[in-house]
């Protein structure tokens, strides 16, 4: 307490205290203002274009967009190719990542303190810090070059799956750690086989925790653009063939951003993307709240 000057009188100390609180509140409000600014901007500029057609029609080409702008109309068409592409790639990534990640999480939980488990945990943590664009490069080197021999939905999924893996591994282990040991021991004491204890007791008990982790991981990769630029490339057509270039909502936003005629569509597409991401986010929060 050396720094509190004895000569400093009480009123100036109280004033300092008040000013500090004011600063904390001020900066906290500044911190969260971008989320309001961003979402309100998306709604303000994007809602006009959001219609049923926007969800079920394909992306128009530049000429159509030019004509519409010249006639002072809304750009026709929608982004169904991006919506379906996102759905395809994220679903495939989830199918690849979820089983591996949950089993790895269980393994880490069951082998606390063992050296191989520690290494696996550290490697998983490092993987979580790898920038997504590097994972795009990797999927390009692995899938685009050797598996599909060209840009493809599969390559996009692989990069997203590698992103999801460490997130779900971590959330799985953290969830299982919170389940009382006695539950597992009771199962084992009843003579239930080990695998049934894991699949019948541990996983159902931690279900909402696991779901929270999975949904958050999904909401994180839905908005990813950079790795898809290097792997899925994008497409103006609807493509459900996993070995062909495929579009995604964030990829379309990037294309619109780079095409002066299409720029009007970035807001509605971003608004839709935000709605999807937030829906996953809030559902995840709901699962987390149910647990408590």
């Amino acid at each position: 307490m050396k720094a509190i000057n004895e000569a400093e009188n009480i009123s100036s100390r109280i004033r300092k205290d008040r000013v500090f609180l004011g600063l904390v509140v001020f900066f906290s409000v500044i911190t969260v203002s971008p989320i309001i600014l961003i979402i309100s901007k998306l709604i303000e500029k994007g809602y006009k274009q959001l219609s049923f057609g926007f969800l079920v029609e394909k992306t128009p080409d530049t000429m159509e967009a030019m004509t519409a702008i010249a006639n002072n109309e809304l750009i026709p068409g929608g982004i169904v190719n991006g919506i379906l592409g996102t759905l395809l790639m994220v679903a495939m990534a989830a199918v690849i990542a979820i089983p591996i990640a949950i089993i790895t999480g269980v393994y880490l939980y069951e082998n606390q303190g063992k050296w191989l488990a520690n290494i696996t945990r550290n490697v998983s943590d490092i993987l979580q810090g790898v920038p997504s664009i590097v994972l795009g490069l990797i999927s390009y080197l692995w899938v685009v070059k050797y598996v599909t021999n060209g840009f493809s939905a599969l390559a996009g999924s692989v990069s997203l799956a590698i992103m999801m893996l460490p997130m779900i591994v971590r959330s799985t282990e953290e969830t299982l750690k919170m389940i009382p040991q006695t539950l597992k021991e009771a199962g084992l004491a009843l003579g239930i086989p080990y695998w049934r204890v894991l699949t019948g007791i541990l996983i159902p008990t931690g279900f909402s925790g696991l779901m929270t982790g999975i949904l958050l991981a999904v909401s994180r990769v839905i908005g990813e653009t950079a790795p898809l630029m290097l792997t899925a490339l994008g497409s103006r057509a609807i493509n459900m063939n996993i070995s062909k270039p495929t579009s995604a909502i964030p990829l379309l936003i990037w294309e619109f951003y780079n095409d002066p005629n299409m720029v009007d569509m970035i807001w509605s597409s971003s608004l839709l993307l935000m709605i999807i991401v937030l829906a996953f986010n809030l559902t995840a929060k709901q699962f987390a709240a149910n647990r408590k």
Partner: protein
Amino acid sequence: MNSDKITKIVLFSVSFIILIVAGGIVFSLVGGAIPSFKTFGFGFITSSHWDPTDGRENYGALPFIAGTLITSFAALVISFPLSFATSLFLGEYYRNTRVAKILGTMVDLLAGIPSIVYGLWGFYILRPFLIGIGFENQGFGVLTSSIVLAIMIIPYATSLSNEIISMVPNDLKEAAYSLGSTRYEVIRYVTVPAARSGIFAGYILAFGRALGETMAVTMLIGNSNIIPDGLFSTGNTMASVIANQFGEADGLKLSSLIFIGLLLFVITGIVNSIGKLIIRKMN
């Protein structure tokens, strides 16, 4: 073989996949970078000459390494007062109140906004604003990117330090109160020193986040292959140069971009490991 043993083997072998993936990433990045490394050697890291013209191809990564470090560091500096205040708000002043819950949810949502949406916001809202107040001429460059990066890393910097701050034992704080301290003095002389290493680790992890951010930076930094000479200069980061130049890349250029990817992988790996190490030391 009994079922318990099979279960253990399944757990073990499936979790081995993550080690294989990580090993494969290192292997492929190194393998892809070899042609570039053979041509330029370590000069790749120290050279600032990036020229893809056929016949006199020359690649050096220094501008991008510099651009990455400068933007990320500036972002950290800008985000510090914001996230520090927010973690005090959440972990100290309004802990466990309704208003903190709302604020906390909003901070979490910041982490959920896709990078490309941040980029659009930076381009169409922040950039004109910076030009409008006479801060910038063109609106592209290190400053604009760093401001957006700063907002993007706030949730990462805040979540850890807010947790650590709220874990500071009440006994300590109450002891200081009983000596007649004001709340500000308690925070300054008790809470923050006790939570110091956790707060520090949070900022390191946030810094690691900023290093690898791609889309928002790509849209805002101006994409020039020079070493930024100030906050208003344009530049390129390691991530943004990969995103920008990958499309037309093959041969030596592709290898050089993979080399940059490898460097980015190594740098973020080191930064994150330091953060994790500090956290482990604390426990």
